[in-house]
Amino acid sequence: MKALWSSIYAWADERLDLREWVEFAKKKTVPVHRHSAWYYWGGIAMFFFLVQGVTGVLLLLYYRPGPEAYDSVRQITYDISFGWLVRSVHSWAANLMVAAVFVHMFSVFFMKAYRKPREFGWWSGVLLLLLTMMFGFSGYLLPMDELAFFATKVGMEIAASLPWLGPKMADLVRGGPDVCEYTVHRFFALHVVVLPVAFTGLLAFHLWLVQKHGNASPPSEEAKPASERQTMPFFPNFLMRDFAMWLVAFNVLCVLAFLFPWDLGPQADALKPAPAGIHPEWYFMSSFQVLKVFGQWFPGALGEMLGMVVFTAGLVLWFLVPLYDGTSASGRRAIRATWFGLFALAVLVLTTIWGYLAL
C-alpha cells in the first residue's frame, strides 16, 4: 500500500512539483506565544465558509426563488430527508461564521497585525467581513417567512433613508418600492452568484497575503530578542492544530444544528401588519440600535441620516487604522488605536445588548 502511494506521489510530483510546496510549507513557521490561540480564528471562519458552500449547493437542489420560495423551504424543513439538517447547518454555520470573523478581526486589531507590511491583509479582511454580513442579510430573506420579510423591509427602509442615493439603491435591490418576489430573485442572485464570486476572489487574495507575510507577532512578542521567540513549523504541526480546531468547530456546529434545528415561521403576508418586536439578526443589532437611538434624539429624516453618518465615519476610521496607527512601528505600543479598538468593541457589545433589551 505504501509503495503504491509513493509511486502515485512520485508520478504526481514529477508533473506538479509537489515537493516544492511541501518544502515551502515545512519552512514556513508560526510564532508560539501566549496569544497563539487567536491564530486559529481565521481558519475557523474559513471552515464555516466552506460548510456554507457545500450546504448552500445542497439547498440549491430544492430551493425555488420567487413565489414558491416559502413553500420550497417548508418542504426542505418538513418533508425532504435530512433537508432540515442541511438548512440548519447552513443557518448555524452562517451565524458562527459571522461570530468567528468578528473574533478574528478584533484579535488581529489588538495584536496590531495590520501594521506594515500587512495593510492589504487588514483591508481585504474588513471587506470580507462586510461581504459576510451581506451574505447574511441576503440569505435571511430567502425563506420568505414573516420575520425575514419584515426584518428585510425595515433593513431596506434604513438603507433608503440615505439622501439621494439611498432610495435609488433600495429600489434597485428590492426590484420595486416594496419587498416582493422580485426582491427574493435579486437577493438570490446576490446570495448565490455575486457574493460567492466576490468573496472567493477576495479570500484568495487574503490567504495569499497571509502566506506571503506569515503570521504577525504581537508587539509584546516583537519586543523580545530573537533568541527568546519560539516558533513551530506550519506543516504539519500548525496545520494539524488547525484541523483539530475545525473538528471542534464541526462538532459545535452539528450539535447546535441537531439540538436547535432552524425552524420556519409563518408565511410572509405583505397585507398583514408587522408582528411586534421585529428586529434584524444579532450582527446587525448594534447598527439597528444606533440608528434607532439617533432617530429618537433627532426626529425625522435627520436622525437616521446622522446615525448613518456616525456609523459610516466609524467604519472608515476602522478601515483606515493601518494608516494612522504608525507609532507602534518603532516598537512602542500605539495606545490610541488600542483605546479606539476597545471603544469600538464596547459600543458594539453594549448597543447590541441594549437593542435586545429595548425590544
Binding site: 418538513y78 430527508s81 432540515w84 439538517l85 484541523f243 450539535v255 439540538l259
Partner: protein
Amino acid sequence: MNYPFWNVPYIGGGWVIGLIAIFHVMIALFAVGGGSYLVLAEQKALREGRRDWLVVLRGHSKFFLILTGVFGTVSGVGIWFAIGLANPEATSTLIHNFVFGWAMEWVFFIVELTTAAVYYYTWGRVSDSLHVKVGWLYAVSSFFTLVIINGILAFMLTPGEAWLAVAGTGQEASRFWQAFFNPTYWPNLAIRSLICASLAGVWALVTCSRIDGAKEPALKTSLVRWSAKWLLPTFVLLPVALGWYLWTVPESQRALLRLGISTIGSGMFTQVTRVALIVVLASASIVAVTYFFAWRSPVEFNFSQAMSVVLLALIATASGEYARETLRKPYVIGRHMYSNGVRVTDVPKLNAEGYLTRSPWKVATHDTKLARGEAMFRGQCMACHTVDGYRSIKRLLGERNREAIGNLLTILHEHKPDSPYRAFMPPLVGTKDEIEALGDYLATLTAPEAAEAEKPEEKAAGMEKQTSAASPGRR
C-alpha cells in the same frame, strides 16, 4: 397513583435519573471494559518482558479502583433512589420480576469490588501468575454484571410476547428467562460490550497521556498505541451492532426514528433522531481525534487531548442513553406500562372508576376542582413534562384557550389509532369530571390572569371544607 408524587421543578424527575445515569453508565461500562484491559495489558507486559508497562498499569489500576469503586458504586445507588422516586410503579414491576436477577448481580458486584481492591493492593506482593488470575476474576465478574443488567434494561423496551402473556396475572416471575433473554437482549449486549472496550481504551489514554514523552518516548508510544487499538473493534463493529439492534426493535420505534430524518415537525418527538445523530457525530470525532493525535503522534499526545476524547465519549454516552430512553415512548415497559406508570390493562378500569379515586394519597385539597386537575397533571403528565422547564407544558400549550385544551385532552383520552400523539404519548385516563378538572387546571397555566380571578373562590371553598372538616373534632 399508588405512590406519592415526587415533584422536581424545572428539570423533572426524568432528568434527575438522567444526570446520574449518564455519568454512572460511562463509569460502569469502563468498569467492565477496563478490567479486561488491565489484565490483558499485564499479560502482554509479562510475556514481552516490558516491566516499564507494569508501573504505568499499577497507576492506572489505582485510578480505576477509585473511579469505579467509589463514583461508580455511589452513582449506582443514586440511580436506585432516583428511579424509585421518579417512577415507583415501574421500579416495583422490575423488582417483582427480576429480584433474583439483581440478587445474582449483587453477588457479582461483591466479587468485582473485592477483586478490584485486591488487584490494586497486591501489585508486587503476590506472584505474577496469581496477580493475573485476580485480574481475570475481576474481568469475568464485572462482565457478568453487564450480562445481567443488560437483560433488565433490554426488557424495558421489548419485554417479549411470553412475558406479556402473563403480565398482570401475578405469574410474571414464571417467565423470568424469556423476559430476560428478550428480543433485543443480544444486540444490546453486543453494543454495550463494544462500548466497554472503547471506554477502556479512552480512559487508558488519559493515563498514558500523563507519561512524559520526552523522557520515555518508547514506553509512551507503545502504550498509547496499544490503548488506542481498543477503540478499533467499536469503530468496525458498532455500525453493524446498531443495525442489528434497529432490526430487532419494534416497527413503531423504527418509524419514530425515520420520522426525524425527514422533518423537525411533530413537536419534541423528532428529537430522538437528532440526538441519535449526535451519537454518530461524537463517535466519529473520537475516532478522528484518537487516530490523528494518539496513533499518529503518540509521544506528543497530551492530557487535554485525552480529556477531549473523554468529553466526546461522555457526549456520546449521554446522547445514546437519552435516545434509548426516548425510543421507548410511550411506554416505560414496552406494551405493558406507559411512561407515566399507568398499566395498559388498567386503562378501561381507570376510565370507568376514575384515576384519582383509587389513590391512597388523597389529601384535603383534592376537594377543589383545580386541585384535582393539578393532581391529574402530576400523576399523568409530569413523568415527562414540567410546568415551565423541560418539555414545558406552558410552552407546548402555547396560546390555546380552555376550549382548545379540552379538544386536545379529548384526542389524548380517546387515543384513536390515527391520533398523531398515539405513537409517543400515553392515553389520558380518568372520568369525564377528572379530565375536565385537568383542562381547567391547564387553562390556568396558559392564562394566569383568569386563574387569579378563579383562585380566591376556590381557595375559599377549600378552606371552608377544611374548616368544617376540622370543626366536628373541636366540638
